[in-house]
Amino acid sequence: MTVSFTTTGNRGLDLEEKLIFEQDKAGRTAVDLPDVPAHDNRLGVAKRKKAMGLPGLSEPQVVRHYVRMSRNNYAIDAGIYPLGSCTMKHNPRLNEKMARTPGLADLHPLQPQSSVQGALALMDELAHWLMTLTGMPAVALSPAAGAHGELTGLMTIRAALEARGDARKVVLVAESAHGTNPASAHMCGYEVESVPGTEGGRVDLAALKKRLGPDVAAFMITNPNTCGLFEDDIVAISAAVHDAGGFVYCDGANFNAIVGRVRPGDLGVDAMHLNLHKTFSTPHGGGGPGAGPVVLSKALAAFAPLPFVVKDGDGFRLVETEEQSGAQPYGRMKGFNGQFGVFVRALSYMMSMGSDGLRQASADAVLNANYLRERLQNALSLSYPGPCMHEVLFDDRFLAETGVTTLDFAKAMIDEGVHPMTMYFPLIVHGAFLIEPTETESRASLDQLADLMLGLVAKAKAKEVEFFKASPTLTPRRRLDETRAARSPVLRWSPPAPKLAAE
């Protein structure tokens, strides 16, 4: 237990902050609104009759509240965030400025199309960039995030198969896949079967071929995969899936490694989502919003969901119904037109980088990951030998006999002032450390990460178990009791029970 030396519980710049509900004064507000004009009340019988219990604060209190809380967060703007599979790269502020442009931010999705031609043109432009970079002939822009894109891609596949007369029953998923893959396949009404990997961390082509058959609708592959490796059999994999009458779905979460260098369309992929909030630099915002457009092959294009933009003479048209589409859209994934504000940010980024910059970025991302691999591979246990793509996978063999776990190691990294890597994923290695530095880290930043990790390896080898188990000690909160949170969930604030009057 650490001793608190201050009356407030604050420690210098490390400030405690109560909940808004604990700062409430009834009647107070931070927003001055126009007067209520004289009017007839038309609310009817469902008029609210009782209070909600929202707290009242003033503007300075509210600003201070969120500023003080923000200081308890780590962020990519503050330092390296090497979460494997998450592509935490720099989020340019220009993107934010552009998304707030009047004429973009203040558009309603159901305005007459004559009044939003620029917005439709912007969507068409984004689509053009995404299709060109992936070498695919169509894109569905509306999915809200990666998992939503997976579901969109699978539904498109299912619609195409149904049009052929048989939706089939099974979706095959690579063993090392993200958990969203099987969850999405299930939501699309498919049974899920796993395809094993090879010793080398890739899909086992022979095992895949053996399982393929007339009941298999699709094979879901991540490429580069979650071990940070390129699936070098991808062309043969696609051919085998196609020969069996199925489709290839590629999880595009790791597209950052190959942007401008490899087009998934050249690899036989039929559908792939793009996480604009990873590859194309839109901010993750502490858990979204993202956007997960799905590029589609020729065989699938006609089945893409509504809505979509088409060129129409000199202008653009938003297709919102099957009748207008002249195709066979399977349905609608989301209200309105997709994550337009994220589209603006992603396009702003792509225009900034250009075809040359995007190609350099993927090379730098791969170079940075391999540099870390080189600097760490003798101290940590590299899961698969040889060069990696944009992320490098280690496992916990090097911690054997030390009493230190991957989790302990990560928590000690926090005290060193960096965000830890992804832990315990992918599941196919024990105690995974998945490190993705991204291209926006300098060599000095990579060296610092490598140095501090090597320092911690030395401490672990010296069996300083207590140090690791106690970590982190320098953070606003130490390790949190997750068991307690899950056993008796407290998911909202409740007013304290009234105290009994003192005798």
Binding site: V62, A144, H284
Partner: protein, 448 residues
Amino acid sequence: MRYLPLTDEDRRAMLATIGVGRVEDLYRGVPSAALLDKPVDLPAHAGEIEVERRIRRFAARNLGASSAPFFLGAGNYFHHVPASVDHLIQRSEYLTSYTPYQPEISQGTLQALFEFQTQVALITGMEIANASMYDGATACAEAALMACRVARRDRIVLSGGLHPHYRDVTETSARFMNIEIAALPADVSGNEDASATIDADTSCVIVQNPDVFGRVRDYSALADACHAKGALLVVVVNEIVSLGALMSPGDMGADIVAAEGQSLGNPMSFGGPHVGLFAVREKFLRQMPGRLCGETIDADGKRGWVLTLSTREQHIRREKATSNICTNSGLCALAFTIHLTLLGEAGFTRLAEVNHAKASVLAKKLGSLKGVELLNDTFFNEFTLRLPKNATEVVDALAKRDILAGVPGGRLFPKDKGLANLLLVAATEMTTDEDMDRLADGLTEVLK
């Protein structure tokens, strides 16, 4: 290339450390035929000046709500967002952090989510709320799937007052899950009684309040009818500000509330990104989709927050998860919670009052125009007019006069030709008397 820190010298030195000659050597697993040897055919990199110019060129071809009298609603509303909201959500620590998987260095986001969950529960009158969904329509679809898990039934009744996009997204989600959808016809009259449609296979009835035509209803009797037959009542709210003036869905007996939160803190932004709100009765907690933040203590006994009950989620449960949702709408939820904190009980109630009053004044004004009929007996900040001619043509004609008049029935219900003359009109705290006069005058002219 201002976003790339490596210099050519760095690159050379790092390649030497790795022991390869060129970066292409690191791509050795890629089939050589697929490895591009030059940039793809797209424009080269550009500086801020040029990018701003190109993006503003798109913006210049649009007519935005801040530049015209504006009356559209139907699930997205033009509200004022206080300046401090946008300032606070752009703090690096919120904007550029990941999902709070490392709670020791994410307490800011987690505490904000805990407060968000509490606020959503309070205004909807429900026991618990999750940390957000993508938007209202996908929240509605998730509510339908959840109701099927809870009731262990596979039929869903959709009210004719439900927003057509919500209906379509829900139908699409159910389509491949062997769930039967009974979608009632568009409820223009406001006389729909969905209770007769509940049978022994029905998992839930999904209604919207105010409904897509703007009507306000008390669904308490329908809730009782659902519960009597072992079904759930799902209430969709697509204008969240209405809850400042209306009885909450929880008070009506709703089991799940699926709502769109855009109206608080978030610009319309041509339809996204927005924030789905999702609140339920506590007994259904384990069947709830999406992330949850919960209170706990740290190793020193101090109060803190963590993401919890994650065994419901896809990264652990894979195909048995309650949903595939992963990234949600964190920053939009933050904007929502900051705006609602600024408002407080007094401000939120007042905001709702202003919205209703403006709409009431406008309805009276437009309803008195020749040939125009106000359909609603009740409404909050949006109502439906029946025009003497096709509303899409009227809206297009008014757009040429730089008036954004509302949402025509044909846009929402393209197949229902009987609704083509309907016009949905919304007013908010942004609507001025002058805007109302311009709409009334414009409408008079166009209908002449």
